[in-house]
Amino acid sequence: MTLKEKIESNRFIVCGEIGPPQSCDGDVIRNKSKHFKGYVDAVNITDNQTAIARLSSIASAKILLDEGVEPIMQMTCRDRNRLAIQSDLLGAAALGIRNVLCLTGDHQKFGDHPEAKGVFDLDSIQLIATVATMNRGFLLSGFEMKKAPAFLIGAAANPFAEPFEMRIIRLHKKIQAGAHFIQTQPVFDLELFIRWMQRVVEMGLHEKTAILAGVLPVKSVKTLLWMKEKVPGVKIHDDYINRMKQARDPEEEGVQMAVEIIQTLRGIKGIRGIHLMPALWESITPTIIKEARLDMTN
């Protein structure tokens, strides 16, 4: 069953995430994929995340595909103009990659090449619309292709950044442009997330797209504090920080926290699945899946 079929049927979706290495070592991805295979429905492959040059997301997605894991290729607008975006998408489709997550991309200032020219020829909403247009058989030039790709289109949403209502409008626009599923930023503030979901359900947006809530398991209080201070748009409730501070075994507490968040998320109306982002801690995925009783049935 492909991710598309799973989204169309009404089952609970679990996605993972792998960051490619800053080298040409494909084995890094092969090894990481073992922690996800058989546990999750699909795995995101990040595209030069935080603007740091890495092994390309297309190549990494192909490696995952060969390992028998369904990839969700991330595509950002920071590094490519509309020509490169479309050609990369066609290349990905030819390699058998079926899912693409459309992002604007972090600003190059935050990465290892702050001197670089940021492209931003399209923005994420226009990118979604571009992929949707390609799915219908056309390029942005209006050229009709002999064979059209059939991408499942994903997009991101940040329920935690200001202004709150603008986030809903932006989600509305992404769905309007053609997003089939939405992955949110990691949830560390359930109160605010529930409020956001209530607005989403009120507007009926949850019926038009599959909303997958982000969950990020953390190993230590240091990671949490770093995220709170350095990662824009991430809100972390003080309860979590205190819990991690007082924990005897921070790793176990981190797993416990992730499991609790997943279980709460499962009970929220409109949530179709979760997106697990074990940044630099991929090996914990099977434990979390088992403890949260998300074990796969395929």
Partner: protein
Amino acid sequence: MNTNEIPLPKGLVTVNDPPLTARERKFSRLLLFFEDIVKVPLFGCQHCGECVLSSTAFVCSQRCPKQLRNGPCGGTGDDGSCEVYPERTCVWYKIYFRSQLLNRMSLLYKINKVHNWNLQGTSSWLNVFRKRIEAPIWFVPHDEQKVKGLIADDAERED
């Protein structure tokens, strides 16, 4: 849920229609001089030639470091600061609150087209006159009902 039925926005890209002639470019430069006198001090115009000021409550979206024409990125701070230049206010934060103030919220739901870089540095007044780009929307009557309508329309389409 059928994932194939989501409608596409019409006219995704601003195309070269009619194409800019050399003569028109010259004239455009002259017109831009006058456009600048108004738009640079008032809005910090970036000369994209494809002005969307009327849909962004008269705050120039091109001043965003990512030049986002369709809403803020995920990095707006709690105090409304820009993630790239924290000393600045996120332009989309301004756009949102100005739209609220001026009752222009329904325009925030509109998907702005992909920028035509051929028009960069040309006069958008001329481009509006030549119908390359959409004319500005000066008045938005019944803004609140329009927003409600936009949301209800989608609900209907789904049924």
